[in-house]
C-alpha cells in the first residue's frame, strides 16, 4: 500500500479520503475472479475488487474507487483522469 503514497504528482488533490476515482489497467486476476492486481497510470500496483463488473479480463481498463472497480471503461479511455 505504500506504493500509493506518491500517486498525486503535484500534491494538489485529495487522495487520502479515497473519494477520488482513477482509471487502472487490470494486470492479473485471482483464480476466483474477485480481486485483481491493477496498475495505475504511473505503473503503481494495487489490489482491486473486481466483483461488481462483469466480463473483466487482463488488460481491461476499469474505474476504481477506494479499491473497488465500479465500471469497465472502453480501452481508449484509460488515460482519462477522473475524480
Amino acid at each position: 500500500m505504500q506504493e500509493n503514497a506518491h500517486r498525486d504528482d503535484d500534491m494538489t488533490f485529495c487522495i487520502t479520503c479515497s473519494d477520488a476515482a482513477e482509471s487502472m489497467r487490470v494486470a492479473s486476476i485471482q483464480a476466483d475472479g474477485s480481486i485483481g492486481t491493477c496498475l495505475d497510470l504511473l505503473g503503481h500496483r494495487s489490489d482491486v475488487f473486481l466483483g461488481l463488473i462483469s466480463d473483466v479480463e487482463v488488460g481491461a481498463e476499469v474505474l476504481v474507487h477506494a479499491g473497488v472497480a465500479l465500471l469497465k471503461l472502453p480501452s481508449e479511455k484509460h488515460e482519462a483522469t477522473s475524480r
Binding site: 489490489d47 475488487f49 474505474l63 465500479l70 483522469t81
Partner: protein, 377 residues
C-alpha cells in the same frame, strides 16, 4: 494526454464561456450548486468560476465525505482507537479532522495505534496479518466508497476473520440534497450532479429534483470543461424553461447504475433512521449501518462509543459553507486561525472541502477581481 488535454483546452473553454454568456439573462442571478467535492476542487483549481458571467454563482454543496462528518463521530473513533489492543485504520484525511477532544493524529501521538489505509481491503489485510489485534476500519464516504466497505466485509465473513470491525459512517447523497431543497435560506436554480456516485446509483435517484422541485440537474465529469459544459447545459435548460436530468459525463456514466453494487450494499448495510450531518443537522435515512447479518463486525456494537453530540466551535462556520449560505472566505476564521495546516473545521481538511480548495487556489483570483473593481471605481 488523451481525454485530459481535450477537457482542459483553453480555447474550447473560452468558446464555451462565450456561449454561456449568450444564454444567461443579465437581469437574473443564477445559483448553481455543485454537489460533489471533486467538482469544488476542479472549480477552484482551474478557475472555472472566472469563466462564468458575474451573475452566475457556483454554490458548493455537501459532497465532500470528510467535511460532513460531525465532531461527535470523530470523538467516537478516537474512543475506539484508545481501546486496548485496537488498531484503528482510516483514510488519511480523517486523521486530521478535529473532534471535540482533538484529532486521530493527536490520539496516535498519545500512543493509540492509528494507521492510514487506502482502502478497506488494506485494513482487512492488517487484521489478517495481526490475528492478536482487533482492527477497526473508520468507514466514511458516499455511494462510491460504500461498495468497497461492503465487499471487504463480505470477504471478511467468507474467510472467517474474527478480528476485523467496521465503524460505519457511510452516507448517501440524495437525502441531503432534498434537505437543502427544503431549506428556507437557500434558493438554488440547478445542480451539477456527482458523476461517480452515478456510476453506482445511476441517474434515476436524481429525477425527484426535476420532477418535484422543478430544478435542472446535469451529471458532470471532473475536468474543467466538463464542469463548464454542465453549467452551460443547466443554463440552457433554464433559458428554455426545461427541468430535466441530463448526463454530460456520458463517456463514463451509464444512465443505469451498477446493480451488482446495489446488491452488495443491500446485503451488508441497512439505512439508519437518522444521522447527523455537519452543518445540516439530523437527516432521516441518510446513512448506512451494518445489517444484523454483519453485527459481529460492527464496531459500534463491539465497543462502548460515547455517541455524544458535540457542537461545532463557535468560530467555525463550516455549516454555512456546506449549505452554500456563505463563501469560504466569509468565515470568521478562514485563512487566519483555520488553515489546511491547522484546520478548525472539516471543510479545511480535505482538499475536496470548499475552504481548503479555495485556500489553495482561489485566494489570488479573488484579490485580482477585487483589485479590478477598485480600479474601475
Amino acid at each position: 494526454m488523451k481525454f485530459v488535454d481535450e477537457f482542459r483546452n483553453a480555447e474550447l473553454g473560452a468558446a464555451l464561456s462565450e456561449r454561456i454568456a449568450s444564454v444567461v439573462d443579465p437581469a437574473r442571478h443564477y445559483k448553481i450548486m455543485e454537489v460533489c467535492g471533486g467538482h469544488t476542487h476542479t472549480i477552484y483549481r482551474y478557475g472555472v468560476a472566472d469563466l462564468l458571467p458575474p451573475n452566475v454563482e457556483l454554490v458548493h454543496g455537501p459532497g465532500c465525505p470528510v467535511c460532513v462528518i460531525p465532531m461527535g463521530r470523530v470523538d467516537d473513533a478516537i474512543a475506539i482507537a484508545k481501546q486496548p489492543n485496537v488498531v484503528l485504520t482510516c483514510f488519511g484525511d480523517m486523521m486530521r479532522v478535529p473532534g471535540g477532544t482533538g484529532t486521530l493524529t493527536d490520539a496516535k501521538a498519545a500512543g493509540a495505534d492509528v494507521r492510514m489505509v487506502y482502502s478497506p481491503l488494506d485494513a482487512l489485510r492488517i487484521a489478517q496479518a495481526s490475528p492478536d489485534r482487533e482492527v477497526v476500519f473508520f468507514a466514511v464516504g458516499f455511494e462510491t466508497t460504500a461498495p468497497s466497505t461492503a465487499l471487504t466485509l463480505l470477504r471478511a465473513k467468507a474467510e472467517g476473520v474474527r478480528n476485523f470491525f467496521v465503524f460505519s459512517n457511510h452516507v448517501t447523497i440524495v437525502p441531503p440534497i432534498r434537505a437543502l431543497l427544503e431549506s428556507p435560506d437557500l434558493r438554488l436554480d440547478g445542480f451539477i450532479g456527482p458523476g461517480h456516485v452515478c456510476t453506482v446509483v445511476g441517474a434515476r435517484p436524481f429525477r425527484f429534483i426535476a420532477a418535484d422541485y422543478g430544478k435542472p440537474v446535469v451529471i458532470s465529469g471532473f475536468e474543467p470543461l466538463d464542469v463548464l459544459q454542465s453549467a452551460y447545459m443547466i443554463l440552457c435548460q433554464l433559458a428554455d424553461g426545461r427541468c430535466e436530468v441530463e448526463n454530460q459525463y456520458t463517456r463514463v456514466v451509464p444512465t443505469e447504475g451498477n446493480l451488482a453494487a446495489f446488491r452488495v450494499l443491500a446485503q451488508v448495510f441497512d439505512l439508519r433512521p437518522h444521522f447527523e450531518w455537519r452543518g445540516l443537522g439530523f437527516i432521516s435515512q441518510s446513512a448506512l449501518k451494518l445489517s444484523a447479518d454483519f453485527a459481529d463486525f460492527d464496531a459500534e456494537l463491539r465497543y462502548a462509543v460515547p455517541g455524544v453530540r458535540v457542537a461545532d466551535p463557535k468560530a467555525c462556520q463550516c455549516g454555512e459553507v456546506l449549505k452554500g449560505v456563505i463563501k469560504p472566505w466569509e468565515c470568521k476564521v478562514f485563512g487566519t486561525a483555520c488553515t489546511p495546516e491547522h484546520p478548525i473545521g472539516t471543510c479545511m481538511v480535505s482538499s475536496e472541502g470548499a475552504c481548503a480548495a479555495y485556500y489553495n487556489f482561489g485566494r489570488l483570483t479573488r484579490r485580482r477581481s477585487e483589485h479590478r473593481v477598485e480600479l474601475a471605481s
